[in-house]
């Protein structure tokens, strides 16, 4: 049994080392945010009250806005984060529910027609003298009904089922974001030329984040809905309760743990997202990561102030992590990972 105890010690040591590695950056940021400049520039200092005299000056500075406005981006991140999360979780759960309880058949040819009309129409209408955004809009409005109509016909070629639709949703997430972010930037700036301002607006950012959170929501919520018993819904159907009411009054409440976990994951994703915010905002609706990334060029490296900024971004996520961990422990979120 001696060897057993030895291996126990080794595993504990491994965990302990990784624990220190994980925790140290957090500790360092936290401590540095209370340091006076002298305690930073003179080389590393570690322990408050022993190595240096802690001060809250950096926090006061951040609050008063003397180092650039923190409050607006914080508010922006919160607003955009919450609205995108609510929208994505609502629309995504509805889609996930439909994909669990109903059969969908999408003909590959109809999808191909959508792409062909979308691209061809865009090029054609531009030749005819429409502006880029107009050509895009018209070709979209043409492509969508045509492909839906085509889907109703008995066309040859493969037919895609529910799993393929789910895969289609999820595959949006596998794309390198620069591809979509850049395309979206082009679309938004074209819309701007038509007088519909989308760049650097609240609704533009919310729409963009909703769309890019949807794949994850559909994927996670589908697992949760699959785990729900179908009998209750069937009983309600016999009583002629409309589907929408069944969904909102029976199914959603039953899937609450899943909804909470999914919302938290989505919120975390939107809160931390950098690339889309970098491309699609310029001043009014900049989010926290953008402000954070600008900190190093702003008046040189004032590490105490950078630490405060980092703390502002990190703390809500720490709270979130705490709640997520509690959910996990009760085993409720495990279905999502499987």
């Amino acid at each position: 049994m001696n060897r057993h105890r030895g291996s126990r010690a080794v595993t504990f040591a491994l965990c302990a080392i990784w624990f220190v590695v994980t925790i140290f950056p957090f500790y360092w940021t936290f401590v540095t945010s209370f340091k006076p400049p002298t305690a930073v520039n003179g080389g590393p200092t570690y322990l408050p009250f022993i190595d240096f005299e802690p001060t809250v000056k950096a926090y006061v500075d951040a609050w008063s806005g003397s180092r650039g406005d923190f409050f607006t981006p914080f508010l922006n991140s919160t607003l955009i984060g919450i609205s995108a999360t609510v929208l994505a979780v609502l629309l995504g759960s509805m889609a996930a529910y439909a994909l669990v309880r109903f059969q969908f058949r999408v003909r590959l040819l109809a999808g191909a027609a959508f792409a062909a009309i979308g691209i061809g129409g865009f090029l054609l209408f531009q030749e005819l003298g429409l502006s880029r955004a107009q050509a895009m809009g018209v070709s979209f409005l043409l492509a969508l009904p045509t492909s839906v109509l085509l889907n109703g016909l008995r066309l040859p070629g493969p037919v895609l089922g529910n799993n393929d639709v789910v895969f289609w949703f999820v595959s949006q997430r596998m794309f390198p974001p620069i591809v979509t972010a850049f395309a979206l930037y082009l679309l938004y700036s074209e819309l701007g030329k038509e007088g519909l301002k989308a760049l650097d607006t609240y609704w533009g950012m919310t729409l963009c984040y909703t769309s890019f959170s949807l794949p994850i929501v559909v994927w996670l919520m589908r697992d949760f809905f699959q785990a729900l018993p179908v009998e209750i819904e069937e009983a309600a159907l016999v009583d002629d309760v409309p589907r929408l009411r069944i969904f909102f009054e029976i199914v959603l409440p039953m899937a609450r743990p899943g909804l909470i976990a999914t919302s938290m994951i989505t919120l975390g994703f939107v809160w931390n997202e950098f690339l889309f915010a970098l491309l699609l905002t310029t001043s009014n609706w900049q989010t926290l990561p953008i402000i954070l990334s600008g900190q190093n060029s702003y008046r040189g490296d004032e590490w105490w102030a950078i630490s405060v900024a980092a703390m502002v971004s990190i703390t809500p996520m720490l709270v979130l992590a705490f709640f997520l961990a509690r959910l996990m422990r009760s085993g409720l979120a495990l279905g999502a990972i499987k």
Binding site: C15, T32, R101, A115, I178, L184, P289, A310, A321
Partner: protein
């Protein structure tokens, strides 16, 4: 089964993704075949595969692909080995397991930008604690962020710090699904833990391992935030990644056709990788199941 209500459920989400994620792609696909600049504004001109050929012939593009692949390969390998080891340790009911479980998840939820900012502070040559630690154990002061090889090392370290938790989480979930009877049988036959791992645990977790590595590779290829803050692609272009390169071309030089072509090449690289990866591993996976 004809239930029209199902369309009410699926269309809103479907429409949003179509309009915001898919349709712009058509547009940028068209732009990738054009020569289009915003500054100075030049009317778009059709150049066929010109942008693509240009990029593929460029020394810088090849170096960027190399750098990105190197970062992805090194960081994912370390993440997987380390994450699997820690998951095994946690699964083996180590002391203070609860504390470890919660803490180990934290890095994953932090904004990569914030993490990179903190890393810059930690790796700093004079005020950073890491260099002081190295001096303490007798090593010279290391140029973490200003010398190419060290800067790559720093980026990989940050990636490993932030994303090993994902591997831990997934492998732990996988470990919990393993039946205990197999291990009891193995114990009866006096199989060593080492044999049990290679004979039972590893093969049974192969499907989830494949998925985890796949997700991590795809995600790592997108790396931007860390590099953006930590080194800005420097020194020179030695740590520039694909996304950063595309961003520089598009938003510093406003060369839109070029950037679109670049992002589609990127997409092709990812798809190629996915196809090859799954093709190589499918025989092993099918044999097991």
């Amino acid at each position: 089964m004809r239930e029209p209500i199902k369309y009410v459920f699926i269309w809103p989400a479907f429409l949003v993704v179509l309009i915001v994620a898919l349709f712009p792609l058509f547009y940028s696909l068209i732009v990738s075949f054009q020569s289009m600049r915003l500054v100075p504004p030049v009317p778009p001109r059709f150049v066929g595969l010109g942008n693509y050929a240009d990029l593929l012939g460029q020394e810088r593009f090849r170096s960027v692909v190399g750098t990105t692949s190197l970062i992805v390969f090194c960081s994912v390998t370390v993440q997987y080995v380390l994450g699997f080891a820690i998951a095994l340790a946690l699964h083996g009911k180590v002391a203070a397991e609860r504390l470890f479980r919660v803490t180990f998840l934290l890095p994953m939820l932090m904004a990569p930008i914030a993490v990179a900012m903190v890393a810059r502070m930690l790796f700093h040559s004079t005020v950073g604690p890491i260099n002081e630690f190295f001096t303490l154990v007798g090593l010279p002061n290391l140029p973490f962020l200003t010398k190419a090889s060290w800067a790559l090392g720093a980026i990989i370290t940050v990636e490993v710090w932030q994303w090993t938790p994902f591997v831990i989480l997934m492998m732990l979930a996988g470990l919990q699904t393993l039946p205990s009877e197999v291990y009891e049988a193995a114990d009866l036959e006096n199989a060593t833990p080492w044999q049990q791992f290679w004979g039972i645990t590893f093969p049974m977790l192969l499907p989830i391992s494949v998925a985890v590595i796949f997700i991590r590779v795809i995600e790592s290829f997108k790396i931007l935030d860390t590099v953006f803050v930590l080194t800005g692609g420097g020194p020179g272009i030695s740590t520039e990644t694909l996304t950063l390169f595309a961003y520089q071309e598009g938003f510093k030089k406003f060369n839109l056709g070029y950037t679109s072509a670049l992002s589609f090449l990127f997409l092709i690289v990812i798809i190629l990788f996915g196809v090859v990866y799954l093709a190589v591993l499918r025989p092993t996976l099918e044999k097991r199941s």
